[in-house]
Amino acid sequence: MRTILKIGKKNKQDFKFLFNDFFPLLVLFVDRYLNDEDKSADVAQESFIRLWKSSNTFDSNDKRKSFLYTTARNICLNEFRHDVVVDEHNTVVKCLDSDIFFRDNIIEEETYSLVYSAIDKLAPQSKKIILLSLRGYGNIEIAEELNISVNTVRTLKQNAYKKLKSFLHDYFYLITVFF
């Protein structure tokens, strides 16, 4: 007797949202292992495909991200033999398969993700101001660069900070659960 079972209606739309939010982070995460943006994009893509094909259910995005980070790391370590990077003095600069390296990379990605997703939510002018300020530009330099008055820069900056604070307050759902 044959019964047809449709297992797990995988929602492509949800997957696309996750991809849009999280693909850049994963690429940059991998790039720290490989130092090659194109190869990193390939590895990131492969990780997403494995997530899609995975027969597990992930009941939260945190768990999906955990899976993605782990899968990406495993692909890096399997495909690239050197797991130790040495500098000119033959000192071990970083040990690619170490847990600390993994943890540090995740923290770096997740921290910048918070910073950038918060900034992304700002209005275009405010966003430019904050990005310039992150690059070390002072108010006067920003005013010159954007062709607006210093007062405008100050006002927009203040408002932007208020908004950023409230965006970061909702951060919880962006962050991966580590182990």
Binding site: T3, L5, N20, D104, L114, I119, F172, I175
Partner: protein, 391 residues
């Protein structure tokens, strides 16, 4: 685990707008833990690293990459055809691991289900707002107008925000109640900016405006609170057996009268829990902790939990872990409209685990339960009967 999440938050705040004293202390404690932490921190806040990150990130073309992936995931049809001899084993595993599922070949049962399909529906019912003076306002999203007028002012259907014509009325602490029926959900905004996500079969009594030295609401049922920060005005959620006191944070309170216990799960921030006789026993919760109070045994338990499990309802899911059938049906009964009977005690005790999507048909769920071959099920109209399998 929680520590790493916190560090990301602290460092991102430092990068964007700096930290206050208590945050600086927290960060310093983490920095003192190891040299790696210090090295990592210095790297993350350095302008050059942030610049480099920004450049690399802006070079990534998400759309182009999505197109490539989309082809690869669409190339195979998502249909698995299996020849099954032992339906029970396979389906039990599926019930445990898959979020949305249904059986296609239900020849014998099709007759019942074709008729029954119209009868038991999943949630979509609308909430009702009961104003202080007794007026009842329907908050259904189906209505064409977003705002409803009543004698004293205007109500916004989407958020239950009430604007009173007479401003004086809004300064006195008068209470409105929002009632969410079986099968409904509602997102409410309070006058201080607090957002409350209300689950089915729940009622929340809240003041029109917060006056005085605290903000108090009364809950019967389940709701998820995102309380607007105000250190001067503590926010208190009162339910029959437990009071939750916060200044600004996120937490979930489950206090259904037909449950044996009240559960408060803390997602972020800090809360004080008051429970026990006269609500005098006080406990402070930390994030990811849950306080459970059982009024029968007068016992309060505080435990670290998987927060996602207790807030899955907000994402439109029911999650069960080794739960008794009777408890599962009780939870489903707050969403789907049906009556349930158990032929005998043993049927109530059968355990299941799994994820169910809220908008899934209850018939699919029942079919899978049946397929486990642990019991038989009969559905007649709105009544579901579980019968012990005779062997």
């Amino acid at each position: 685990m929680q520590e790493n999440k916190n560090i990301c938050k602290l460092i991102s705040r430092e990068i964007l707008f700096g930290l206050d004293d208590s945050e600086k202390n927290e960060l310093q404690i983490w920095l003192n833990e190891s040299d790696e932490n210090v090295v990592l921190y210095e790297k993350l806040i350095s302008e050059s690293n942030i610049q480099a990150y920004h450049h690399k990130r802006s070079r990534i073309n998400v759309k182009a990459n999505w197109k490539v992936i989309e082809k690869r995931i669409s190339s195979k049809r998502r249909l698995y055809v299996t020849s099954l001899v032992n339906c029970a084993a396979v389906v039990l595993i599926i019930f445990s691991f898959v979020s949305v599922f249904y059986l296609l070949n239900k020849r014998i049962d099709n007759k019942h289900n074709v008729l029954a399909h119209q009868v038991i529906k999943p949630g979509s019912a609308s909430a009702q707002l009961i104003l202080a003076d007794g007026d009842k306002i329907d908050l259904s999203n189906n209505a064409s107008n977003k705002q409803v007028e009543f004698a004293g002012g205007v109500v916004d259907r989407d958020s239950a925000v009430v604007k009173y014509l007479n401003k004086e009325t809004s300064e006195v602490e008068r209470y409105n109640t929002i009632v969410v029926p079986k099968g409904g959900e509602y997102n409410l905004q309070l006058s201080d900016g607090t957002t409350v996500f209300i689950n089915s079969k729940t009622s929340l009594k809240f003041p029109i405006a917060f006056v005085g030295n605290k903000r108090v609401v009364y809950l019967e049922g389940e709701a998820y609170f995102k309380v607007a920060k105000n250190k001067k005005l503590p926010f208190i959620v009162k339910s029959k057996h437990m009071d939750v006191q916060v200044t600004g944070t996120e937490f979930n309170v489950k206090a259904y009268n037909d449950d044996k216990q009240v559960e408060t799960t803390l997602i972020e921030g800090g809360v004080n829990i008051l429970s026990g006789v006269d609500k005098k026993e006080k406990v402070i919760l930390k994030p990811s902790q849950q306080a459970r109070y059982n009024s029968i045994g007068d016992r309060l338990v505080v435990e670290k939990v998987d927060v996602d499990f207790y807030t899955a309802w907000r994402k439109g899911q029911f999650v069960f872990k080794e739960d008794r059938l009777e408890d599962i049906m009780k939870v489903l009964g707050r969403w789907y409209d049906f009556n349930v009977f158990y032929q005998n005690k043993s049927t109530r005790e059968i355990k299941f685990s799994g994820n169910i999507d809220r908008y899934e048909s209850i018939y699919s769920i029942i079919d899978v339960i049946k397929c486990t071959q642990k019991l038989d099920v009969e559905i007649k109209g709105k009544t579901i009967v579980f019968i012990e399998k005779s062997r």
